[in-house]
């Protein structure tokens, strides 16, 4: 197939950047979207131009590196799918495709389609952990956890930290990401001793990073490649209120 691409090109963080139109040929419908970009990049290199830089690594939908907004939708049109698992059979010959980076103040562009997502790491550093040193753990079966609770924890823990929730949110809010981590530890007794401190610290860091505020559009859930439910945001809200009102540390 033949495609017209409008790709965001930006040399560096300080460069202004703009959308550039390209034509690309010989795309097979069996290719993944990123393989289409590989082929396109090869054609740029052949012309002596610099290839388009984009983040990607595992290409099996789990590492969370890939991060493209395709025709206005993070990770493209397929539900529950990362870009690396999106296939070209989803597109038609002659289609025009807009490819842009995640857009958020908290995710500045580094180059082309690559953004800096270390804000997520800093949120995790603020409290996304259980304080336990290696070696001091009791027997794994000493603490029974109801299957239903473990399943809820796992639903939330499936988050791959890609940032599509932020990219999709009209307000660039990170509530789904933060909610997922808070929810995981909320449904596990191991997470309870530090729950108040955790939620307060993570929300505080999230706010300081310059993410927007959730206004309950649920666009994040629609974009999430792991289909994490906005239940985790409601849980985060409640957990934060409890922590604040109780004054527990």
């Amino acid at each position: 197939m033949h495609l017209t691409l409008h790709v965001w090109r930006q040399k560096s963080a300080n460069d202004k950047g703009r959308l550039v139109q390209y034509e690309v040929d010989n795309i097979s419908s069996d290719m993944s979207f990123l393989e289409m970009l590989d082929v396109f990049n090869e054609s740029l290199i052949a012309k002596g131009e610099e290839p388009v830089a984009f983040d990607h690594d595992c290409r099996e939908g789990i590492c969370g590196a890939c991060s493209l907004v395709i025709n206005g939708i993070p990770h493209g049109p397929d539900e529950g799918t990362t870009v690396c698992q999106l296939h070209m059979r989803r597109f038609k010959d002659g289609d025009t495709i807009y490819i842009e980076p995640w857009r958020a103040k908290a995710f500045p562009v580094i180059r082309d389609l690559i953004v800096d997502r270390t804000a997520f790491d800093r949120i995790q550093q603020a409290g996304g952990f259980i304080t336990i040193n290696t070696g001091g753990a009791p027997d794994a079966n000493a603490l029974p956890i109801a299957k239903t609770e473990a399943d809820l924890a796992m639903d939330a823990a499936a988050c791959i930290g890609c940032g599509a929730c932020v990219a999709a949110c009209p307000n660039a809010s990170a509530m789904l990401f933060v909610g997922a981590k808070v929810s995981q530890f909320l449904h596990l007794p191991q997470g309870h001793p530090e729950r108040a401190r955790r939620v307060k610290a993570m929300v505080e860091q999230m706010d300081a990073e310059g993410f927007g505020n959730c206004t309950n559009h649920y666009e994040c859930m629609a974009a999430c490649p792991k289909e994490i439910d906005v239940r985790v945001i409601a849980e985060l809200n409640l957990e934060f209120m409890k922590a604040k009102i109780s004054g527990r540390e």
Partner: protein, 243 residues
Amino acid sequence: MASNAGVAQSRALPGPVRFITSSIGAKVVMAVSGFVLVGFVLVHMIGNLQIFLGPEAINRYGNFLQGLGELLWVFRLGLLAALIAHVASAARLVILNQSARPINYSHNDYVQVKFAARTMPISGIVVLAFIIFHLAHFTGGKVQPELFHFQDELGQHDIYAMVTLGFQNWFISGFYIVANALLALHLSHGVSSMFQTLGVTAPAWRPLTHALGPVIGTIIFIGNVGIPLACSLGLVAIPAGAM
């Protein structure tokens, strides 16, 4: 790192201020003040519907309220506080949310976002303008002063005449109808949102909480629009002498 300066800055504030200026706290302010306001709107609507029972009922109701004295001011100030909190928090959130995405997508496509949700600031501003107009109109008597001083047979403020005659003006009725439509739109997202913000977590409840916004919005729209519409169309008795 700018972000850590932000954390330090926020920690310098007193606890309750930190709460309401945090992203979630600001939403809680929206939800709680919104709850108060929507509660008022419902009660207000039910009260006003007494206009269909005739002049006696509505005038008695209006004068009962007027007779509450200081208590009325307690309600009024409470509502004003809720309104100010709602508007101020909303204004702050809108500004923050816009700055959270300095460069927009050139090509935007929403999968999930509803029209009502996207237009909350606009519907909110119109509703706010309407509230001011409405207060000036029926509480302050500044819009149609000529209709403000009627008295009924009991010597009370004739609210029935003021309202029914006031709505003979199609511009005024039209504004009431449009504003209430936007209020309904505002509530259809706002009421459902309140449950999410206040932590109603079970996905099984979601159909209910999602339905509640549009349902309440619709009820209020029908109830509130019914009055100007009925008056304009002459479906209620218009006091002839006052014309």
